[in-house]
């Protein structure tokens, strides 16, 4: 079983990102589960969402406490909350940031960064102050985590994103290309 | 009588068979000379047992429970409540 935790702020699309990833995995024949942290959402407040992926039916219904991957949609969350909380020893962190991975201090944990904000803005997703970066970050996920293919991610965007389907797919593709695995 | 599913009664209007006049101790009596045919008593009777007639209101004593609302409301004191010994 593979467990992913998304961190973002209310309104940034963490819940949608978790859902898109689950749907992509489902399209590859995997068993999936995705859910938001069970709370009251407010725009701007830190939120989390989760995705479980497995080859066999997923029986477990608990929240995720020891994720394999953490994805931070907003680097300003780091320091506000412990994004690496419970991360597995060989876990990975993907951060939306202009900075380099080495600029983040998470011990031995492998850190990846992507300027998803710039990619999203370039493709006209959201506004400069509130870019919608969740599809770009999924492109990065496909590259560095590698357990879900880009084709499935694009298919998931096609089926679940109500507007700007092409722009979202292009953002994911660009992120996949520029990301260093 | 056998019970039905859902307490359904498929012979509607059976409450007509239940004559509530026996509940009455005081009986409204109309003085047609004082009556101005304003029909307030007919409007206000909770049992709907006062009907309009040419000569004035007519009370159906089969169903009148003797509540006295008609007598209380009559502006012209045309209705009095009489003790009814049966």
């Amino acid at each position: 079983m593979y467990e992913v935790r998304f961190h973002g702020r209310g309104g940034q699309g963490a819940v949608t990102a978790a859902r898109l990833l689950a749907d992509a995995a489902f399209r590859e024949g995997k068993e999936v589960q995705s859910f938001p942290i069970f709370g009251v959402e407010r725009r701007g407040a830190p939120v989390a969402a989760f995705t479980r992926i497995d080859d066999k039916p997923i029986d477990i219904k608990t929240q995720i406490y020891e994720p394999d991957v953490v994805i931070a949609l907003d680097s300003t969350l780091i320091g506000v909350i412990d994004v690496a909380d419970g991360l597995k020893d060989n876990g990975k962190i993907v951060i939306n940031s202009k900075k380099k991975p080495a600029d983040f201090k998470f011990g031995d944990t492998r850190v990846y960064t992507l300027d998803a904000t710039e990619i999203a803005t370039k493709h006209g997703l959201g506004t400069k102050t509130n870019p919608i970066i969740n599809t770009a970050i999924l492109g990065a996920y496909a590259k560095v985590i590698g357990n879900i293919g880009m084709a499935a991610i694009e298919q998931s965007i096609e089926n679940n994103v109500p507007i700007k389907k092409e722009e979202n797919k292009n953002a994911a593709r660009e992120a996949y290309q520029v990301m260093e695995a | 009588m056998k019970i039905t599913i859902g307490a359904i009664n498929d012979k509607p209007g059976s409450s007509k068979n239940y004559k509530t006049g026996s509940w009455r101790t005081l009986k409204p009596v109309i003085n047609l000379e004082k009556c101005k045919k304003c029909w307030l008593c007919k409007q206000l009777c909770p049992e709907g047992c006062i009907t309009k007639k040419e000569e004035g209101p007519q009370i159906n004593y089969d169903y009148c429970k003797g509540c006295g609302i008609c007598a209380h409301e009559c502006t012209f004191d045309a209705i009095i409540m009489e003790l009814e010994e049966r």
């Binding site: 995705s34 069970f38 | 359904i8």
Partner: protein, 392 residues
């Protein structure tokens, strides 16, 4: 059949849509709001041919459901928590008038303190209103049980309303892969609802008329007999469902119980976690098993005795509480065994109230506590799990 990833509320809404209800009176409440939202969207898009009634409260929703159902319409609604509590008096009327209304529930805690999260108190508290009760473990079951509920409730031998519970957030807002059956198959499985008697202005009848002391007890007896009769109807419907749709349902589903010393009885979404926990306990050499209860009313007592009579202990997990007694499910289970000369020790664990996550460690603790009770004697038959005593 279409496979898609959907939330639990969408699963029950799609289940309802496939049953072609004529009337859907509903009042939105967290966590089941998505149900009426989706139904009104289906109708607005022309995908569904039903009448949605927007009412001013849950009491009115159930009142409208009763009126509509008495005209012979197929009726469904959705609610949760305080909404169901507000419906309470109308729930008795629906069952007394023998109207097969189906309600999707997002199982949620009751105030106070106000809490929107998962808990079974809302439906457990309605165990005496004469409705059939089903609990889903996952979204697929939520969809399937909606269809099954209509099939069972509308059977002439039953004619009672039913509720299908999906856990707040753990299912209502969780996305899972779900097989959505073809409309044609559902149409064949669930023929139109055709009651013998219904409200029609041309031939007036009265529903739920006055029941004096000479009759009331017999009405209730007949209603209870219909609930008992539903046991057979449920088994038939489950068998037919398996044949048509390929998915297996049982009133209770045992897991690794054959040689188990201890069986854990669960309702709802915690049942999956229980199976995962049993696997871990077995790896540690502990002979644990678990039973998922899908049908809570009528209470599957015979089935429960069958699968658990050889265990040393039954741990009954309650995500509800009857203050001054213990869990409601515990009392139900104990009643099944009380007249048997030999039976397992029956212990009760209260857990997961108000959305407290139920995790693998909770099951380990339950196993250890039960084991200790067997060896050293029962200290307290009703224990609270994962209780933070520091803040008391």
């Amino acid at each position: 059949m279409t496979k898609m990833t959907i939330m639990g509320n969408m699963a029950t809404a799609l289940g309802a849509k496939l049953c072609r209800p004529h009337v859907i009176p509903a009042y939105p409440i967290t966590p089941s709001t998505l149900f009426p939202e989706k139904i009104s969207e289906f109708i607005a898009n022309g995908e569904m041919d039903g009448e949605m009634i927007r009412v001013e409260s849950e009491h009115s929703a159930m009142s409208a459901a009763i009126g509509a159902s008495a005209t012979g319409a197929r009726v469904c609604t959705a609610s949760a928590s305080q909404g169901i509590a507000l419906m309470h008096e109308m729930l008795f009327i629906a069952s007394g008038m023998r109207l097969p209304i189906v309600m999707a529930v997002g199982n949620r805690a009751l105030s106070a303190p106000i809490n929107i999260w998962c808990d079974h108190q809302d439906t457990i508290s309605e165990r005496d209103v004469g409705w059939l009760q089903f609990y889903a473990e996952k979204n697929q079951e939520g969809l399937d049980l909606m269809i099954l509920a209509f099939k069972i409730c509308e059977d002439k031998r039953v004619l009672l309303p039913g509720m299908v519970g999906i856990d707040a957030f753990v299912l209502t807002h969780t996305v899972e892969g779900v097989d959505v059956p073809d409309q044609k198959l559902v149409d064949d499985f669930l023929p139109p609802y055709k009651p013998e008697k219904y409200l029609d202005a041309r031939t007036p009848i009265t529903f739920g008329s006055f029941g004096t002391p000479e009759f009331y007890q017999e009405f209730k007896y007949a209603q209870v007999k219909a609930m008992e009769e539903s046991e057979k109807v449920i088994d038939e419907a489950f068998r037919e469902y398996k044949k048509v749709f390929g998915r297996t349902y049982q009133k209770i589903t045992p897991y690794r119980c054959e040689d188990a010393d201890m069986v854990i009885l669960t309702l709802g979404s915690m049942s999956g976690t229980a199976r995962a926990a049993v696997d871990i306990l077995r790896e540690e050499g502990k002979k644990a098993g678990c039973i998922k209860m899908t049908v809570y009313r009528p209470f599957p007592g015979k089935e429960l005795i069958d699968v658990s009579k050889n265990a040393k202990v039954i741990a009954v997990l309650d995500r509800d509480i009857t203050p001054g007694l213990g869990g409601a499910l515990y009392a139900d289970v104990a009643a099944q065994f009380v007249n048997r000369t030999a039976h397992p020790v029956i212990l009760n664990y209260i857990l997961g109230l108000g959305g407290r996550d139920i995790v693998i460690n909770d099951f380990k603790e339950i196993y250890d506590k039960s084991h200790q009770a067997l060896e050293k004697g029962i200290q307290n038959p009703v224990e609270w799990i994962n209780l933070n005593k520091e803040i008391l």
